[in-house]
């Protein structure tokens, strides 16, 4: 190691955090898997596993280079780092205390989980081969540019738009892309006609637990070092998650019963919302952000149901809306003493304006680009299985497998 540019302790910390974030993609698998009908559990699980494998290779061969290679006009990275060429395992060229290779693999985990979150909109009806094509295109044309804009010295970074750990890059991108997808792939047969109750809530809670756990790596790791920012991020992440869990649960209690899915959806809402702000706000702000995120995302879910949009597992309502809200919250609650940036509460509206602009443009881009890609894949290959295959279930029709569980 070139210990003049590298800190060993930060490198070790980031490696562990990376493993945590990688576990989260599997967490998404279990979270989503428990929410579908039994005949589609295996299919739902596989979409996340495949997302992870696929993005790993894409990232290795060219995705990382597109996102973090030398900047081209603020829009996209160059191809210099394709095949991880010139990505050093023992030195840093990125002004960080960790080797470039560690940065690369940490970012890989983010790219992968984003695609996994998007599969919410494809639940119980996507054709596997088309998903693979869509996934490759989407990561390349939607995720990689957005990651470049915000974190790879692209236009958003240049303008000063901030996203601590992915509220914009990961959650807005995934959530609004999922929404756009629904308008191409359309609703599941029988949606709104008969109930499509989750078949395995314990599995969903296993996923939720892994997500909560992994999120510490996601947010604390995004400080790229062990320092007060990482410590703060760790603590506020937990507070927001807890606040979101209880506020969503309470909201649904008022209208009916406090289900476990309310609670765990609130957790993810709280986590998604604190993500962009975790390095900039303190504990009490985190409590406010989590509580509000739980409520807002709850109403977003109600709204989507009323619209009859079958964005089946609520990537939009939870990640999309939560991430958008959190990105704004950075502009509201940011505290100079914590992250060096002032929000509205400390009297400055500049950052809020920037956040709003950034989130807005990226939301639009995600929607339009995803719609385009999905439309194209649908025309050429068909995004959706046949009605009979859907009826029989994707486990059997796509994978030839079933589960007793």
């Amino acid at each position: 190691m070139d210990t003049s540019t590298i800190s060993l302790v930060d490198t070790g910390f980031l490696l562990i955090c990376t493993a945590f974030v990688i576990l989260m993609t599997f967490g998404v698998a279990f979270f989503y898997g428990g929410l579908v009908r039994r005949k589609n559990i295996i299919s739902m699980l596989m979409l996340s596993f495949i997302s992870f494998a696929l993005v790993t290779l894409q990232w290795t061969f060219f995705g990382y280079s597109l996102a973090f290679g030398p900047d081209f006009m603020g829009i996209i990275g160059g191809l210099e780092n394709c095949g991880l060429l010139g990505v050093f395992a023992d030195q840093s060229t990125r002004n960080l205390l960790i080797p470039d290779m560690v940065f690369m693999v940490f970012q890989l985990a983010f790219a992968a989980i984003t695609l996994a979150i998007v599969t919410s909109a494809l639940a119980e009806r996507v054709k596997l081969s088309s998903f693979i094509i869509f996934g490759l295109l989407w990561t390349t044309l939607v995720y990689d540019p957005i990651a470049h804009w915000v974190w790879g010295n692209g236009w958003a970074a240049t303008m000063g738009i901030l996203d601590f750990a992915g509220g914009t890059v990961v959650h807005i991108t995934a959530g609004f892309s999922a929404l756009a997808l629904v308008f191409v792939i359309r609703n599941r047969h029988g949606f709104t006609q008969y109930s499509m109750n989750p078949s395995n809530i314990p599995l969903t809670l296993i996923g939720g637990a892994l997500l909560w756990f992994g999120w510490f790596g996601f947010n604390a790791g995004s400080a790229y070092a062990i320092n007060e920012i990482a410590v703060n991020a760790f603590v506020v992440t937990n507070i927001s998650a807890a606040a979101g869990s209880l506020s969503w649960m309470t909201a649904s209690w008022i209208y009916g019963k406090p289900g476990s899915l309310s609670m765990i959806s609130g957790t993810i809402a709280g986590l998604g919302a604190i993500t962009p702000a975790a390095g900039f706000v303190g504990p009490i702000a985190a409590f406010c952000i989590g509580t509000l995120a739980g409520l807002i995302c709850y109403y977003a879910l109600m709204f989507r149901l009323k619209q009859g949009w079958d964005e089946s597992l609520d990537a939009w309502a939870i990640h999309g809306v939560g991430g958008f809200f959190g990105t704004l919250c950075l502009g509201i609650f940011a505290s100079v003493t914590i992250g060096g940036v002032a929000g509205i509460i400390e009297g400055s509206t500049t950052q809020f304006g920037l956040q709003f602009l950034g989130a807005g443009i990226i939301t639009l881009y995600a929607i339009i680009a995803t719609y385009g890609i999905a439309f194209f894949v649908d025309i050429l290959f068909g995004l959706r299985v046949s009605e009979d295959e859907e009826y029989v279930g994707l486990d059997l029709s796509q994978h030839g497998e079933t589960t007793d569980m």
Binding site: K39, Y194, S195, D388, E389, Y391, V392, S397
Partner: protein
Amino acid sequence: MQKLEIIIRPEKLEQVKKGLDEEGFHGMTITDVKGRGDQRGICLQYRGKLMKVDLIPKVKLEMIVPDEKVDDVIRIIKKEAYTGKNGDGRIFIYEVIKSVKVRTGEVITEW
């Protein structure tokens, strides 16, 4: 007194139950089953080859009703369980000799 064995699509259960409720039919026993009819399940295309999926999940309702109510139940089922596609289900009807209620000990032979 007769028993109706009614095999329907699981996703139609709620609707069927509602239909029955409205006309006052409450007692029933429900079992998760799998089944296939004469068209032998569902036939999928897979890369040019055919793939038969027989044994599709179904729900079996068993209802014991007085002789004169049998036709009412059949009518309701035919209406509520209907989609018009293969696999809508069947009703099989049997004679019941006797029925005993455990709690009260009450025995019914004619109903």
